[in-house]
């Protein structure tokens, strides 16, 4: 192990221990570690943005007034200046314009993207399970496919009903027929199954990270013993 690697290992282990000291109720070392993380990340992010975004996309076109991109670059320059004004008290209102510009463009992208990328394909996929070719095989009904298609349809509708149900409940107490409540409960079951899988997934990822951290510490300790 080279001195550089050793030093990297020591730094890594020290920072790991500082973070894990949180479980012992320590706040100082944990705070130091997290503030180091924020400081380094912010510094690195600032560097990357300056060198990879601002300079090539904004400053370079402005450097050549003869270029056709020069005029086009004036718009983002103006918006950027308005944003920078947000750092000062008087310029807080001015920052609303570039942020609104961002919001509007992203909203438009979302309309197209969600419609074409999620809603249409997902609904079509759900309905595609009811195609005769999927449900029948050599003129024989495929009961497993039929049950699965029905289950998916019922599940999705019931989950959507939970959304609707919650929206109405927020508005006020609404008394619904029993069967609608039943559909809502089915939806909750499907959501619960998904959340259970997500919970295990998150724990699994966190566990892998924890094992990695611990293995670094063990590796460091075994170096000396």
């Amino acid at each position: 192990m080279s001195p550089s690697e050793l030093f990297t290992l020591i730094v890594g282990v020290a920072l790991t221990v500082m973070v894990l000291s949180y479980i012992l109720g320590d706040r100082l070392f944990f705070g130091i570690a997290t503030h180091i993380l924020i400081g380094v990340s912010a510094g690195f992010l600032a560097l990357v943005i300056i060198q990879k975004v601002i300079l090539p996309y904004l400053i370079m076109p402005l450097a050549d007034p003869a270029s056709p991109d020069f005029l086009l670059a004036l718009v983002p320059l103006a918006l950027s200046i308005l944003l920078v004004l947000m750092l000062f008290r008087r310029g807080t209102q001015a920052g609303a314009i570039p942020l609104a510009f961002l919001g509007g463009a992203l909203a438009a992208l979302a309309i197209i993207g969600v419609t074409r990328g999620t809603l249409a394909p997902q609904i079509l996929s759900m309905l595609g399970r009811f195609e005769p070719s999927q449900l029948m095989h050599e003129a024989q009904p495929q009961w497993a496919a039929i049950i699965e298609a029905l289950m998916v349809l019922l599940g999705v509708i019931s989950v959507l009903f939970v959304f609707h149900h919650r929206g109405q409940s927020k508005a006020g107490n609404v008394i619904r027929p029993v069967f609608l409540e039943g559909i809502g409960s089915i939806g909750q079951i499907f959501i619960g199954i998904t959340f259970g899988a997500l919970f295990v997934g998150i724990f699994s990822s966190a566990l892998i990270a924890l094992i990695s951290s611990l293995s670094e510490i063990i590796k460091f300790v075994t170096l000396w013993f």
Partner: protein, 675 residues
């Protein structure tokens, strides 16, 4: 409507017939008031009748035939109505019209009228109270007990000067006070001693004005003068005013001074009790004050002449707690109901007046006082002094009423689960358990995952997709993950990249995260790719590529900044991401525009469930997620055993959580059933 002519009245002037209720003759206009007499009652002018009301009440009170031993005396306001009713009831010579009116009144509830309904309600309450009380028997008992205890107190108070030399520096006057109220139970009874001593057993209503006046005078005048307003408010008590023992009077003087000094700050409503101030109907108030007064009478009629320091007429300087209680009962009786301990505890106000150094002691006394009634739960009413019995009864009803007031407007669902505070210690224990489990299983030695482990369907599909790629096919690898998940993702991605590299596939790397710039180094090293492999930073992620995806024929600002801007030549985009949102963004914004482009993903296990619909719909060719789909478990540096231990511990914790909740519910149901 028909009229019975036999009931018509004849005018004394013109002798013509008039309706029974006519006050003047319809024919001659002469006055017919004289005809309207209550049978058996002398005719008196209206004003005179009002003035003679107390006399009537007195008559009734003094009439032994109208009083039963178990019955409480009626309140002064209600006596006339009752008296008239009773007198009429006894008479068999009722006029017909009156009989009809009474018949109707009995038949129709509404016809009774507010006054009559109030009377009935109060009578009912009084009867209920009377059935619970045993005044006749215990009055004598109270006398005996109090005389005995006061004799003891007096003896102790006299002994105090010798004990005053204790190092706790408690003032003499305070020690005397303490000696005079050695038992908290006695303090509880003080509240009922605050009323004046009446000659009769009748309850009196305390008016606000009388109390205010009493309080004012109590602060400024001497003891005898102070009691005058109170006595004037209850005229019949003057004769029974008892002298104060000189010793105790002297002992109480410092208390007077102290309480006088804190008069500015004093208020009888504790601040934190404001929330309990709920207006109640007047009928309810009357009913409650009536009950309270009964207890006051019960407690004061045998007031011994020992000059107890708590008594307002004997100890003006101490008037604040007692008067406060009376006022509280009169004005805001709910408060006394909700917080019986607070209102029944005269020492609470006294706490403010005592020196700071003895505050703890007095607090302890208060606490004891609060605790003791709960500790003593005699089942036999004869085993406790009757005044305490009354107070407990009051307290029970007060707490019942308080709970009713609290529950007003609430959903009457079952009892809420009692939250057990889960402290840091529990969390620490669990965390240490997991840490120790992991470390021990890692120290045991390497435990690689079985090579023939079953992979998920999307992972198998991804493997198939990679197999179909031929030499020189272009694959775009997008690195979109943070350092936190790098270990998991690198372990999944590195073998695939290595495989693609071996297959001769042309790999292009983009990173949408700044951190990808330094994380790519590690990935390339693990995948055994050349160190000089270019990894470009893609600002704005897929936003940067939408223009090209929508219209590849155009060129815009900064086009030459990125080599891998045009996605059309690529066969596959492999998204190495720890965010399903970002993957979804690629599938929503880029995929619909380039149909020839396939998308696959390498992601963490936590994002896998969200991506599964996209795999099911065919938008994702496949994805690998988690430890099972990669070879992280096969790496010697990774302890698969530790991973399993961690999952096992989590499984145990979840099951324990379910079981403990089930047990908690069972216990609660059992308790509810028992209740």
């Amino acid at each position: 409507m028909t009229e019975d002519h036999s009931e018509l009245n004849l005018c004394p002037n013109c002798s013509k017939e008039n309706l029974p209720m006519a006050t003047r003759c319809v024919h001659c206009g002469s006055d017919m008031e004289a005809l309207f007499t209550i049978f058996g009652q002398p005719q008196i002018p209206e004003e005179e009748a009002e003035e003679s009301l107390p006399d009537i009440i007195e008559e009734i009170r003094n009439d032994p035939s109208l009083q039963t031993p178990s019955e409480e005396p009626p309140s002064p306001e209600l006596v006339p109505a009752n008296r008239i009713d009773e007198s009429i009831l006894d008479s068999e010579q009722l006029p017909d019209w009156l009989a009809k009116v009474r018949e109707r009144a009995q038949g129709e509830e509404d016809a009774i009228g507010d006054l009559a309904s109030g009377t009935m309600a109060m009578d009912a309450a009084r009867n209920e109270e009377a059935s619970a009380g045993v005044e006749g028997e215990f009055n004598a008992w109270i006398n005996r007990i109090r005389e005995k205890s006061q004799q003891e107190n007096s003896v102790r108070a006299r002994q105090l000067p010798s004990e005053n030399e204790e190092p706790d520096q408690v003032p003499e006057w305070l020690q005397r006070i303490r000696a005079l109220r050695p038992r908290p139970e006695e303090d509880i009874t003080h509240e009922v001693k605050t009323g004046p001593t009446y000659a009769d057993d009748l309850p009196r209503e305390w008016t606000d004005e009388a109390l205010q006046e009493l309080r004012r005078q109590a602060l400024s005048e001497d003891q005898e003068q102070e009691t005058e307003p109170l006595l004037s408010a209850s005229a019949s008590t003057e004769d029974e005013e008892t002298p104060v023992e000189p010793e105790l009077e002297a002992a109480s003087e410092p208390v007077q001074e102290e309480s006088g000094s804190i008069e500015e700050d004093f208020h009888n409503i504790p601040e934190d009790e404001d929330a309990y101030f709920v207006p109640v109907p007047v009928e309810d108030l009357n009913q409650f004050t009536e009950v309270e007064e009964d207890s006051v009478v019960g407690g004061t009629q045998e007031e011994p002449a020992t000059g107890e320091i708590e008594s307002p007429e004997q100890e003006p300087g101490q008037d604040t707690p007692e008067l406060a209680e009376i006022q509280t009962e009169e004005v805001v009786p709910e408060e006394a109901i909700v917080e019986p301990e607070a209102s029944e505890n005269p020492e609470q106000t006294e706490l403010e007046s005592v020196p700071v150094e003895v505050e703890d002691e007095t607090k302890t006394g208060v606490e004891e006082q609060e605790e003791e009634p709960e500790e003593e739960q005699p089942t036999d009413s004869a085993a406790v002094p009757p005044d305490l019995l009354l107070l407990r009864d009051q307290q029970d009803r007060a707490s019942l009423l308080a709970s009713l007031i609290e529950q007003e407007g609430r959903v009457t669902a079952g009892k809420q689960a009692v939250r057990k505070p889960s402290g840091k210690a529990g969390r620490l224990a669990l965390a240490l358990l997991l840490l120790i489990g992991l470390i021990v299983s890692m120290l045991i030695g390497p435990s690689p995952m079985p090579t023939d482990a079953l992979k998920s369907m999307p992972a198998l599909a991804l493997g198939d997709q990679i197999q179909t790629l031929a030499e020189n096919d272009k694959v775009l690898v997008v690195l979109d993950y943070q350092a936190a998940t790098s270990r998991e993702l690198e372990a999944l991605a590195a073998p695939m990249l290595d495989k693609l590299h071996v297959q001769g596939v042309q790999l292009s790397f983009l990173t949408t995260q700044p951190s990808g710039l330094f994380l790519a180094q590690s990935l390339l090293a693990q995948a055994e790719l050349p160190e000089n492999t270019l990894v470009e930073y893609l600002p704005g992620s897929y936003l940067n590529l939408i223009g090209w995806a929508v219209n590849p024929a155009i060129s815009a600002t900064g086009d030459d900044l990125l080599r891998a801007k045009n996605l059309y030549p690529f066969r596959l985009v492999l998204l190495v991401s720890d965010s399903s949102d970002n993957i979804r963004g690629w599938l929503e914004q880029i995929a619909p525009w380039i149909e020839s482009l396939n998308f696959a993903a390498i992601t963490t296990q936590m994002e896998a469930p969200v991506l599964s619909p996209y795999f099911d719909s065919g938008q994702l060719e496949g994805y690998a997620a988690g430890i099972a789909d990669g070879n992280i478990g096969m790496q010697s540096t990774f302890s698969y055993r530790a991973y399993r231990v961690g999952l096992l511990l989590m499984l145990v914790m979840l099951l324990l959580g379910m079981i403990s909740k089930g047990e908690e519910d069972a216990i609660r149901k059992e308790e509810e059933r028992a209740e």
